[in-house]
Structures are given as C-alpha cells and as structure tokens.
C-alpha cells in the first residue's frame, strides 16, 4: 500500500494548523542593534529547561522520595547506573546555568528597559519564572537528603516564620509539620516533579505568547528618536545564530558537568546537630548573608522580621518595576537603571562575603 505523504501532512495541518505557525516564523523579523546579543539569553533558558526535563525524568526512574530510600537511591544512581553520576551532574549544572541565564536575561531587560509599555506583562511573567526557577532549585536541593541539604532546608523553611500572621502556617505547610522530616522530603519531591513543572509550563506559555504578541523591543534611544531599526528574518537568519550559541552552551555544560560532578554526602540524620558551614545554593547566598547581617532584635521586632519584610518589598518592587519606572527616558528611568546596577553589585558582594 502506497502512503501519500502529502495527504498525511495535509491531514495533520488541517487539525494542528501548522502552516500558519510556519508562515509566522518565516515572516517574523528580529531587530538588529547593539543589544541584540541579549536576545539569545531567552532561548538559552529554554535549552537548559529541556535538558533539565530529560535528565530529571532519567533520575526520577530510580529516585525514592522516602526518608529511608532518598540518599541510598541517589547513591545507587551514582554508583550502579551506567553514567548515573554524569546524568545527575548534568541535571544539577543545567539548573545552575538556567538560573544564571534567567538572572542575566532579567538584568539585560532591566538595563535596556525593555519592560516599558506595552511589555509590562512580559516582565511580570518573567519575574514569576525567575521565582519559580529558584523554588525549583530550593526543592531540588533537599532531594539527595544529605546533612548539608537537610540543614540548608531547615534554615530556608524557617525564614517564613518571621512573617507575621501567616509565617508559621507557611513554614508548617512547606515542612509538612513543625520540623523538617520525611514528610518534607515527600512534599518537596512532589513540588519539584509535579506542581512546579505545571506552574512553569503555564507561566512560560503566557510569557512566550506575550513575547510573540508584542515582538522584541528596540533600544530606548532609537524608540525616542523614532529611528527605524534594521531587522533580520527569524528564519533562518536568527534561529541559526541561536542554534550555534545553543551548541556551544551544550558543549560547555556537558564539559563542566563532567569535570565538576557533585558528590553525595552521607544520609542526613534528623537528630544530628547542623554541620559547620551550612550554605544554600549560590543564587540564595546574598539573601542568606542579608539575613545574617541583621541583629537579633531591632526594637520591638526581630531583625529577621525586618530583613524578611525588606526582601519581600524588594521582590514586589521588582515585580512592579515597569509601573514604577514609567518614564524610562527621564531622570526616573536613570534612577531605576542605577538601582539595577546597585542590586547586581550588592548580590555579587554579599554572595562573596557569604562564602568567606
């Protein structure tokens, strides 16, 4: 029996509307200017997310989210499964790369002020994606269930306690009780492999639709001067450039994962005291140090409470940044640019300080 491939293609096209998407990709144009390089950070995040999904599924085949089995199952992945340690390393490093690129992407948008109207919602969904990525990292950090991850999670889940009214409830909800136990592990695993992926896909879909709807932004000075910015076709000119960057990033990730594979500590002991030098993942270091510099008591409230309130207000301010920076071309715009640069310097200095 001869199969007419054209007919099969047409059948799928009728149902999935592939032609309009292809037509859109061929007609789409990307502005070309001195900041175009930052466009590539967005697509690189998708590459690392895809790697995370693939390696995460591979690890989930053997991982056991129980108090007795968690550490042993990771040990088994590392010692028994062919190249299991490499798969785990790629998963861990791609998480690091992904969060680094999300931060870089957000920072580039902040500095170039690409969040200005009509792209406020794109910025807000991007900010949500950054938070979800960090929560991904936080929940994933506990899963190997060694002393360091247990202590870091104890510290991390204790922070919401400082929030008035709802704080205690949030901590209990995260831990599945008053303390970090096997229930916390099961809960974090569920968040990591079920709830957070659903959330990230939903927000990512909205973010991508908004990026396509509003198009890519042009530099502010060109927009003010009403200068026509030259552009390139998305297909094949832009996408091929992206693929080249993906290939180099993929090679770099694989190499780093091979040379700096993470080790696995002994199984966590719930009764043991916290080991010395407990540190969260690198992207939480500056927050960790911020909490540490506040004194125990500041008048009627605790220092931790003040620190948590400042952090929450800062996150809320960054979330609503497009509305706060409503005159990006003026003095207000400059203030917010310097605020972004200050934030970056602060994060770097405090992260280094935390490591010392």
């Amino acid at each position: 029996m001869k199969i007419d491939l054209k007919k099969v293609g047409a059948w799928f096209d009728d149902r999935l509307a592939i032609t309009p998407i292809v037509r859109y990709a061929t007609k789409k144009e990307v502005p070309q200017h001195e900041h175009s390089i930052w466009y590539f950070t967005g697509s690189s995040i998708l590459l690392f997310l895809a790697i995370q999904i693939v390696t995460g599924i591979m690890l989930a085949f053997y991982y056991k989210p129980t108090l007795e089995g968690a550490n042993d199952s990771v040990a088994r992945i590392m010692t028994e499964m062919p190249l299991g340690w490499l798969v785990r390393s790629i998963h861990s490093w791609s998480a690091t790369f992904m969060i680094a690129f999300v931060m870089l992407h957000m920072l580039a948008i902040w500095i170039t002020k690409s969040y200005r109207p009509p792209r406020e919602s794109t910025w807000m969904t991007g900010m949500m994606l950054l938070v979800v990525s960090m929560v991904f990292g936080f929940t994933g950090y506990l899963l190997p269930w060694d002393d360091l991850s247990l202590s870091a999670t104890k510290v991390g889940t204790n922070i919401p306690n400082a929030i008035p009214v709802v704080g205690k409830w949030v901590t209990q909800f995260l831990r599945g009780g008053d303390d970090v136990t096997g229930d916390t592990l099961t809960r974090f695993f569920l968040f990591h492999v079920c709830i957070l992926p659903l959330v990230i896909f939903a927000i990512l879909a909205v973010h991508m639709i908004l990026v396509q709807k509003e198009g890519m932004s042009v530099p502010l000075k060109d927009e003010i001067a009403k200068k026509k910015v030259p552009s390139l076709p998305f297909w094949p000119n832009f996408i091929l450039r992206e693929v080249m960057i993906w290939l180099v990033l993929l090679g770099t990730l694989m190499t780093i994962a091979l040379l700096f594979a993470p080790s696995l500590g002994p199984s966590a002991d719930l009764m043991a005291p916290a080991p010395a030098g407990v540190k969260p993942e690198w992207y939480f270091l500056f927050l960790f140090q911020t909490l540490k510099i506040f004194p125990a008591n500041m008048g009627p409230v605790t220092g931790e409470f003040v620190a948590v309130v400042i952090i929450i207000l800062t996150v809320v301010a960054i979330f609503f940044l497009p509305f706060l920076d409503n005159k990006p071309g003026g003095k207000k715009g400059k203030f917010w640019t310097y605020a972004g640069i200050f934030g970056l310097i602060y994060a770097i200095v405090f992260s280094i300080w935390s490591l010392l």
Partner: protein, 154 residues
C-alpha cells in the same frame, strides 16, 4: 578563513579536554574506583561491603544508558541491607571502559559542534546575503495607486 579558524579552535578545545580528562585527578579511576563505579572517600568496613557488592552487577550492566534493568534488579538485595553509609560518594568512572567511552563521546561532541558551527556559519552568511539582496522581496509596483506587486500582464 574565520570559519576554519573557529573549527580549529573548537577541535583544539576537544583535544585539550580529552587530555585534561585523562589527567583529571577527580575523575581518574583509582584502584578502588575501578572496582566500584564511584569512588568512596574514607571507606569504613561496614560500608565497604555493600559498595563492593554493588560493583558486580554494575559491571555487567549494559553501557550507554541510565536505564539498566539487569543491574538494577541485582542491586536490590544490597539496597535492602540496613547499613547506614557514613562516607561521601565522589563521582568517578566505573572503569577504563566507561572512561574511554566518555572521552570518545566528548571528543565526538566537540568535533560535531565545530563542524556544525562551520556549516551553520556558511548558511547564515548565505541567508544574510540573500536577505540583503532583497531576493525574496517583491518588486515595487509601477502603479502608485496599486500597492500590490505587479502580476503577469501589468
């Protein structure tokens, strides 16, 4: 010429990587690591037994994939043993076979990247040239009142 230089650069990176890999102390399989798939720091007698027990099924397990049912099934009795591990597992190659396979794979990976980038650069250059030449853009209409491109017979 620039493309060739990039290929040479990436190929050299692959070579350096493979040499570095061969000499990398963290990854070099020690005598202990050759027996067991991962290097275990400060082994205690209680923990050495399950580690050695796990080495056998892993050695029989097929290479090149994480899902290895035979290895996984045979390792279950060792996992059942209620011996608490007290040492850190440092990742290392399971043996010389695995190490060679990984080195070959990484060289292949970087060479493939170099070759693909070389061809993509040619493709991009051609695509840019075609776009700048406005090859696919319709010719402007000779009639001012008709913005559509000219058709046969106009």
């Amino acid at each position: 010429m620039r493309g060739i230089r990039i290929v040479i650069l990436l190929a050299s990176a692959a070579l350096v990587l493979s040499l570095g890999l061969a000499a990398h102390p963290g990854q070099a399989p020690s005598a202990q690591a050759t027996k067991a798939p991962a290097k275990i720091e400060t082994p205690s007698p209680s923990a050495a037994a399950p580690a050695a027990g796990q080495a056998k099924p892993a050695a029989k397990a097929p290479q090149g994939g994480v899902a290895s049912a035979p290895g996984a099934t045979k390792a279950t009795p060792a996992a059942k043993a209620p011996v608490k591990r007290t040492e850190t597992i440092v990742p290392a190659f399971a043996g010389i076979k695995e190490k060679t396979a990984v080195i070959v794979f990484y060289i292949w990976l970087w060479l493939s990247i170099a070759v693909l980038i070389y061809f993509f650069r040619l493709w991009v250059r051609e695509a840019d040239r075609v776009y700048q030449a406005k090859y696919y853009e319709p010719e402007p209409s000779p009639r001012k009142d008709n913005p559509l491109p000219p058709v046969l017979g106009d």
